[in-house]
């Protein structure tokens, strides 16, 4: 049963991406699904790829954000982890001996329109959604994608976005008396953030 409610998330892990990752996690929980992300637990003894395989195999849905694969600064390498994990996920859908993976659903996201088409033309058949690196738009995009996959009767995007903002004030109210600074709250580690979403929702 959990398989049908799990959403594997393939995205960058740096804190600069948290402005998109956190509303993304909130939206998934808000509409009743479970985000599965390699950051959900930290175990230095566990090989990263083993963890990713496990999460992929436990998830019917997956969201792949390819918005940060391009190098930005001189001498910086391009980032291949995300396209690699997309490929593994796609391979699982096509070739895994268990037929349940044939109906897996993917959401591909990019930060600039048509950028994925330029860098990954083999995937040009896929409908890639552009979030424009905007926190509000990622909420709309993810919520609308769930509707397109047949998950109906969801709250409107603007309501989820407003609730995300209000959720942040709740986070602030509850954590500040415990000694958290505003910076601590904004940089709350992902497992703690997910735990707090569950407490509030």
């Amino acid at each position: 049963m959990a398989f049908k409610r799990n959403v594997f998330i393939n995205c960058p892990f740096d804190t600069n991406y948290h402005t998109l990752l956190k509303p993304l996690l909130f939206t998934i929980r808000k509409i009743g699904f479970t985000p599965r992300i390699a950051l959900e637990r930290f175990d230095s003894g566990e090989a990263r790829f083993d963890k990713i395989k496990e999460l992929l195999l436990e998830s019917k849905y997956s969201i792949h954000d390819l918005s940060r694969i391009k190098s930005v600064n001189e001498e910086e390498y391009f980032r291949l982890n995300m396209p690699f994990e997309l490929g593994v996920d796609f391979g699982c859908k096509l070739y895994h001996p268990n037929n349940k993976y044939r109906s897996n659903r993917f959401l591909l996201m990019e930060g600039e329109q048509y950028s994925v088409q330029k860098g990954l033309s083999d995937f040009s058949f896929a409908d890639c959604k552009c979030h424009n690196n905007n926190s509000e738009q990622i909420v709309t995009l993810v919520r609308n994608w769930f509707i397109e996959t047949g998950i109906l009767n969801l709250p409107p995007p603007s309501k989820i976005w407003d609730e995300y903002n209000i959720f942040y004030s709740e986070l602030y109210l509850r954590k500040k008396p415990e000694g958290y600074s505003r910076k601590d709250i904004v940089e709350l580690p992902i497992p703690e953030f997910i735990q707090f979403i569950d407490e509030v929702i």
Partner: protein
């Protein structure tokens, strides 16, 4: 149900919204954040909190008003 005494200034694609907690919809959307803050501050006559959000939903400022 008692309405909350918290009012939020929230980024929307088309501007900045004033949203009172506990209500279903934003009361009004302004072109700029400054205008939204100005109007929301005027409306808090019974005391309450004005929570100003950043574009990413995090908190920029939290202002508490006493009953006038």
């Amino acid at each position: 149900m008692k309405r909350s005494d918290k009012t939020h200034i929230i980024k929307r694609e088309i501007g900045w919204a004033i949203k009172r907690e506990g209500t279903n919809r934003a009361s009004k959307i302004y072109e700029t954040k400054e205008k939204a803050i100005k109007h929301a501050s005027k409306d808090i006559i019974d005391g309450g909190d004005l929570i100003i959000h950043k574009k990413d939903g995090t908190i920029q400022e939290w202002k508490s008003f006493k009953k006038k």
